[in-house]
Assembly symmetry: C2
Homo-oligomer: 318 residues x 2
């Protein structure tokens, strides 16, 4: 049996193999995704994001257990930009898998910021496609960071939970980091610590001053203590409520269309990026251009103009 056949029969090791295939953008990965796409159903994507040390992993584990209890199949993707260095990824993956069923109803994968520019958001998208085609009902996307790349990732979720902790300090920072724009709900984790009530009321205050959103959803703030599963039920219910609200308002479909637009944009950007990488070295006068820049006769910015104008058509047709 091929890996693909085993994947289609629900073999979790085949899923793992195909994820690596897609993650590394190995030959034929686009064809594979294209072929599996018709199997993509309605798997829901829940994003969980927040500062390092906010307890996102524990919270995501709790949510995964809660979803499994409903009989739902769950795939987790954890995006950690620091993991290639700390080397935590692989070991951590095994540790985090340990408590979960191995019957094919659960899978966990961590992803490092790898690959070309824009690669991570695209790669994460692609893994959710695999999860969905594999038959998972829910994808939990956990990201730490958070720069634009990570914001892009959670932005392609159906529901985004932003996790903060009492230590997160001044909530003005939360706004600065652009979190107000992406949050569908806030979760104050480690809520048994001092300062929890202060950040809770600050957040609520800030949310009040916010303009009402087009989807008529008012962003709730939930308190949790993930280590003791306190508040996880409320978090789960709030997420469910958000999804129901979005569906009732037609906003869910709207979001899905926007996600498709984004996905297309990313695919095209990655393709163009590759075209540049592959074809620039073959470009007729590239050596001369580099020499001219090196000699100070021109600069890379003007030179890129020249390349765009002169050799564009030759450049992009391949």
């Amino acid at each position: 049996m091929t890996v693909l056949e085993r994947f289609l029969e629900g073999d979790i090791r085949a899923l793992s193999r195909l994820i690596s295939h897609v993650e590394n953008r190995s030959d034929g990965y686009l064809e594979l995704l294209s072929r599996l796409y018709p199997k993509v159903g309605g798997a829901v994507r829940i994003g969980v994001t927040g500062p390092p040390g906010a307890g996102k992993s524990t919270l995501v584990n709790c949510l995964a257990h809660r979803l499994l209890k409903e009989g739902l199949k769950v795939g987790v993707i954890a995006v950690d930009p620091t993991s290639p260095f700390t080397g935590g990824a692989l070991l951590g993956d095994r540790v985090r898998m340990a408590d979960f069923p191995t019957d094919g109803s659960f899978y966990f994968r961590s992803m490092a910021t790898r690959g070309a520019s824009g690669g991570l958001a695209g790669a994460t998208d692609n893994v959710t496609i695999l999860y969905d085609a594999f038959g998972f009902d829910v994808t939990l996307l956990e990201t730490v960071g958070v720069g634009q790349v990570e914001l892009d990732i959670v932005d392609s979720c159906d529901t985004v939970a932003v996790v903060v902790v009492p230590e997160s300090g001044d909530s003005v920072q939360t706004m600065k980091a652009g979190l107000m724009e992406i949050a569908d709900l806030f979760c104050v984790n480690k809520a048994d610590r001092p300062g929890a009530d202060r950040i809770l009321s600050e957040l609520r205050q800030m949310l009040k001053m916010r303009k009402p959103s087009a989807d008529k959803w008012s962003i709730p703030v939930v308190k949790t203590v993930a280590t003791s599963t306190e508040g996880v039920e409320e978090l789960y219910e709030t997420i469910t409520k958000h999804q129901e609200h979005m569906k009732a308002e037609g906003a869910f479909d709207e979001r899905r269309r926007r996600q498709i637009h984004k996905k297309l944009t990313r695919i095209l950007q990655v393709r163009f990026s590759r075209i540049v990488e592959e074809r620039l070295p073959e470009s007729a006068n590239i050596e001369q251009i580099i020499q001219d820049i090196y000699d100070g006769k021109t600069d890379p910015f003007s030179a890129s103009d020249r390349i765009l104008k002169v050799s564009l058509s030759e450049f992009v047709r391949a």
Copy 2:
């Protein structure tokens, strides 16, 4: 006087303003860089990278002080993917500036992973151009992370120091993270802690097994305790030795040419990326394509093929 005029006269606040301008890719930033490029001289770029908590900031501060002592002007760029969340950037900038001269011979800037895909490496490049045109002799580039983006950043340096600590653990991880390929020297920081000698000998063992590099440089390992400046002199000398070696072997120029090639690639990728972002929404049948994907009649991968083939010429000519 315009900001640019003040910049050219060595006004550090004007430098700060232009960095923000370039970082935000505000209107005219490419023209600005193009205009300043002829002023770019031979500022040396030193990259310092390593896992979170390895003491890179302290080490970079030490190096900056050491360089200033030589009468060199120094600009520091610290790239921290977690900073938008922790909100540490601005406050941290001020703290890190505190010990340094304010006479225009030193500047510190932290950068978060912001902007579009590939944006960070490009933005960092651009700030080094500003530093160089401003008259700094050395740019110190400090990155934490580390994914491909951060590797790209240090890869555009003339000398790359990889910092590890005794706690970094198994040096196999160091190899996995792709650090062997980018290191010109290793620095075992916090070398007063247990395990320092073990990691030192592990690294040296690994370096012995390595194929000799084309530039005939054998990678040294230096021990430091940055908090007490122990070993910083040796680190400084090792960096200087590396630069001299590269220049003597002609490898320095070779590297600079490769950097120019990279810079061109990045500029073109960012430009194409923007073209996709701006022109895709105007693309004739984009709404229909999104609808078809939504309805399951096609998938984003096949659709991107269609877009590339049908509307490519219309798409990229603007």
